[in-house]
């Protein structure tokens, strides 16, 4: 197990370097002047020249790449040309909100996706199966941003069931910042009411964000369940008189859930990207909204930093999923 972890960590370092090469290439090889990009669209020629010198854009490519990696290792992600703020500080401020939202969304997707997929498999080709599959195909086809707008319009504006957006209302007490995730900070502060309010504010954005993942999890779990339910050991368990609930929930699910786990990891990464679309709709101050604003105003360094951070987060998730696989499936564990 230790060997496996070390091997995967080593691979991740290589992948992170590769990721840095990609963001570096986008900034430097793309047509256009990297100093101009970093300086922003409204910079004067003198400002561009100054940036070219201070940031080393006049040096050859390999030297620049080394400088770039050195900068990243020190945790310096550049500065925003619009606010003049350090991008690292901005990300430290906005990332916890996004993480909170994405964790909530993936929880929704898992909590509904696995049982729905299983139910669809149990009632294959009958009425509940058709209904659940309709959710699955629609979830994959609905544009997240549009779904978010429609939910906001109907459930928040028309019915008033949910807040329009943001993380907390103006009159709510913001808990002292510990992790940056309001629900957790509030609980640590012994204030479950604020935690619930924060959760309440996240329901609509998380719902919009989770639907594609929900659809994917339903599909995978349904297909796996269908296959597993026909296996000999399940038939054997049935013959031994073990109750159907125990068979599906424990015997079959144990095998069916592994591919769903891989899908959850993949979808977690896509959700991180999806926050760019959904956070803007609900004015949720996370890294996605930050990236979307930066992209529209051609504020280059924040976009590159967000790409890097989300790529790294995605890689880290995949690492965790791989390890979870190894813990759960002895065949994978013993391969290495």
């Amino acid at each position: 197990m230790t060997r496996l972890i070390l091997k995967r960590l080593g691979m991740m370092v290589v992948m992170l370097l590769g990721l840095a090469i990609i963001t570096f290439s986008i900034a430097n090889i793309a047509p256009g002047d990297p100093a101009r990009l970093a300086a922003g669209p409204d910079a004067t020629p003198e400002m561009v020249e100054q940036i070219r010198e201070t940031r080393g854009f006049d040096k050859p490519l390999p030297v620049r790449f080394a400088l770039y990696v050195g900068q990243l290792v020190r945790g310096d992600l550049g500065t925003s040309v619009y606010t003049g703020r350090s991008v690292s500080d901005d990300i430290a401020q906005f990332l916890p909100a996004t993480m909170e939202l994405v964790f909530f969304a993936i929880t929704i997707a898992i909590v509904f996706g696995i049982p729905l997929g299983t139910l669809a498999a149990l009632w294959q080709n009958r009425f509940p199966d058709h209904g659940i599959r309709l959710i699955a195909v629609s979830g994959a086809a609905l544009p997240m941003f549009w779904l978010g707008l429609m939910l906001q319009w109907y459930l928040a504006l028309e019915l008033g069931w949910f807040p329009l957006g943001g993380r907390l209302g103006v009159f709510d007490d913001v808990p002292p910042q510990i992790t940056g995730m309001i629900t957790i900070d509030a609980l640590l502060n012994g204030d479950p009411r604020t935690a619930l309010t924060a959760l309440w504010y996240m329901v609509l954005p998380a719902a919009a964000l989770s639907l594609p993942a929900l659809a994917a999890i339903i599909r995978v779990n349904r297909a796996e369940m269908l296959e597993v339910l026909g296996r000999d050991y399940v038939i054997n368990a049935k013959a031994q008189g073990i109750g159907p609930l125990r068979i599906t929930a424990i015997y079959a699910q144990k095998n069916a859930i592994l591919p769903s786990l891989a899908m959850i990891g993949l979808r977690f990464g896509w959700m991180l990207g999806g926050t760019v679309l959904v956070e803007g709709v609900f004015d949720f101050p996370g890294i996605g909204l930050y990236a979307a604003k930066a992209a529209v105003s051609s504020d280059f360094e924040p976009i590159m930093a967000v790409t890097l951070i989300l790529g790294a987060a995605f890689m880290f998730t995949n690492l965790l999923i791989d390890l979870a696989y190894a813990v759960l499936d002895p065949r994978v564990r013993n391969q290495v």
């Binding site: 590769g18 963001t23 544009p143 529209v296």
Partner: protein, 299 residues
């Protein structure tokens, strides 16, 4: 792939066998209700993309015609989907936008195939450092959420529909490398490949005449799915203001503009979004159906 292997027996037996196989595929496909729904939606979408400007009641509205006396009218017999903030007919803009959408889907998927399939064949058929390098680069690309990477590329190139398409194509190809590499790896030691080699076929002939046709069905299935996904991604870029710029009739950009007019003028947002949803749904359902027919094991 029974048709391909049995077809070479005698030239006269070729046509009937081939048609029999095709008929069987069509029969299997048409037996599935959801696949047929997908096919109908896609066919309708293609028709609208082809004849949109003829079908649209006010074609001039798609390209920035302004009529403030008719602005923000609710859906009515004259304007089925209502009108937007400058008085353009939303139905016309949605119909004409279908062509943009089709163009985006085809370009992104097409470029991704053109880059990804050859790289996947090289990675699958050869050995040494080159396939290793191709696969590592592919892995790294696949480990970044695609939408974010596309946004970064558009950020470097500048917003616009052309750049959005380029950016999406640049993040889309690795999926094809992965798919084609896996498929070729499984094919390259098959008996028929050995037989072709033994008969004196050169490496290019083996790849293009023997291996590639056997990789086609998963590529077709993925391409059909990707049409939907690429359309969704392009609409997302349009919504963020990074793709097509208003007043260009693109559905994502229309949702984005309509957003400021919610909730009172809901039709500005509702209908373009529905158009995206149904189009993507159609391609997804068709892709599912094709997979069940062409590639049943991949389910």
């Amino acid at each position: 792939m029974t048709s391909a292997s049995s077809a070479s027996a005698t030239p006269t037996a070729r046509r009937p066998m081939k048609y029999r196989e095709t008929r069987r595929l069509i029969r299997t496909y048409s037996r599935s209700f959801s696949s047929m729904v997908g096919l109908v939606i896609v066919a309708l979408f293609l028709l609208i993309a082809a004849f949109g400007p003829l079908l649209a009641p006010y074609p001039e509205d798609a390209y920035g015609a302004v009529d403030f006396s008719a602005k923000l009218l609710p859906p009515s017999p004259e304007h089925w989907f209502g009108t937007d903030q400058v008085g353009s007919d939303i139905l016309s803009r949605v119909l004409i936008g279908a062509r943009t959408t089709l163009q985006i889907g085809l370009t992104v998927t097409g470029i991704a195939i053109l880059i990804g399939v050859p790289l996947g064949m090289i990675a699958g058929m050869t050995s040494g450092w080159l396939p290793e390098a191709i696969m590592r680069v592919t892995d790294i690309f696949l480990s970044i959420p695609g939408l974010i990477l596309a946004i970064a590329i558009v950020g470097a190139l500048g917003p616009g529909i052309g750049n959005a398409m380029v950016a999406l194509a640049l993040v889309w190809w690795p999926g094809y490398v992965r798919l084609v590499q896996a498929k070729t790896l499984s094919q390259r030691n098959e008996t028929y490949v050995d037989a072709a080699r033994a008969l004196g076929a050169g490496p290019l002939r083996v790849v293009f005449v023997h291996v590639l046709p056997n990789c086609l069905s998963p590529i077709i299935v993925k391409a059909s799915m990707d049409m939907g996904l690429a359309i969704l991604a392009a609409a997302s870029l349009g919504f963020l203001g990074l793709g097509a710029q208003p007043p260009y009739p693109e559905w994502g950009a229309m949702v984005s503009t309509g957003r400021s007019y919610l909730p009172d003028w809901w039709w500005c947002t509702l209908f373009p979004g529905l158009a995206i949803y149904f189009t993507v749904l159609g391609f997804n359902l068709m892709g599912d159906g094709l997979r069940d027919v062409l590639d049943p094991r991949q389910r």
